[in-house]
Symmetry: C2
Subunit: 216 residues, 2 copies
């Protein structure tokens, strides 16, 4: 790994590297890990192998791992943390729906982690894939409990939610029908709403949380 021990602090974040991640994410999303050839990556990023291997000495595997990390970081700050910490959990859940719709481009985009989960890339990135889905499910369950749901119900609804979102992405892509995603989100929202409404009945007034957008 450390073939060339760097003299400067290893923590130095190369400037172009971060900007590369969204492009790489899009490529992996569309072609999967094995389908994303270095030729394609070079073409889409406009970079030669020299630059690519300069930023990612570990090659394709490091690119994919970095992208997964970046995605996880974005979801953590934009969704998981609010779900766990927003004083108004119901608002955080509703913001999650908005953010989810925005992130997946209303069904026109597919979930990279889901793509990896289905393919042989699961073996390589299993820990990260597992962590992503588990974090989403657990953060949502936490919010639902804070909104007043019983633990088992909250866990059930949370599992239902992440599963439903993934399924909507698969079928929307399969049927070339992005609108399907919105319909699935609406159904899911209706399933959670009773819990959220219960929370509203319990607390007087609160909060908000703007829905962020990401290029990842």
């Amino acid at each position: 790994m450390a073939a060339k021990p760097v003299s400067r602090a290893a923590a130095k974040p190369a400037p172009g590297r971060e900007a590369l991640l969204p492009v790489l994410a899009e490529i992996f999303r569309e072609h999967g890990f094995e389908g994303a050839s270095l030729a394609l990556i070079g073409e889409r990023t406009g970079l030669g192998k020299g630059s690519l291997y300069h930023f990612f000495p570990g090659g394709k595997a490091e690119m994919a791992a970095s992208v997964l990390d970046a995605i996880d970081a974005w979801f953590t700050q934009a969704m998981f943390r609010p779900l766990r910490e927003d004083p108004d959990p119901a608002a955080a859940v509703r913001a999650m729906f908005a953010a989810t719709d925005a992130y997946f481009r209303s069904g026109r985009r597919v979930c990279l982690v889901g793509v990896f989960a289905l393919g042989a890339a699961r073996d390589r990135f299993g820990a990260r894939i597992d962590a992503y889905f588990a974090a989403w499910r657990d953060a949502l369950a936490d919010a639902l409990v804070r909104a007043g749901a019983e633990e088992p119900l909250a866990r059930d609804l949370a599992e239902d939610a992440v599963s439903t979102i993934q399924g909507a992405l698969v079928t929307a892509s399969a049927l070339q029908d992005p609108a399907l995603f919105g319909r699935a989100l609406a159904r899911l929202s209706a399933r959670l709403e009773p819990v959220l409404a219960g929370a509203a009945a319990r607390r007087p007034l609160a909060s908000s949380f703007q829905s962020p957008t990401s290029a990842l």
Copy 2:
């Protein structure tokens, strides 16, 4: 294509070909289209390229297309047709759940069509992928209408069902938790049950339909 015009009727079904399809299906399921190399296929089938190209002159693409056709044929006879024709639509829907659980090995198996739908293989096999999901959705909607549901509700529930099943397969695979699939099926069943129970209240007694298993 027809480099060697066969003297005998072209419709002759080679004996070993059919037996190959389940193995090929499993390989494509686990590795996706681009991930399933001919070397791997040869190894898993125990056949050399000679035999492979004898049975599938069109190469990998023909193998995948044949597998998709076989899967569609199996689902049609085991699920879609009963959903449309069983005199007791509620029983057909319940049989569909049992067949789905059996087919996907209670969440230990992934959906080939879903795998293809997410990857770049979508472009190659788009028509077949679309047809598979649409047929499932429409057949189920038909059964629900026959069970007494209003058209819009039936269509909504049917879309919900196929989407939910796919999502459960993705997350079960991602979290390495096959039991998740069963829980998702149970939730889905509970969502459909009111319609089915309504049908039971309307008609006196009827039917059955054994849940078949498939190697595909």
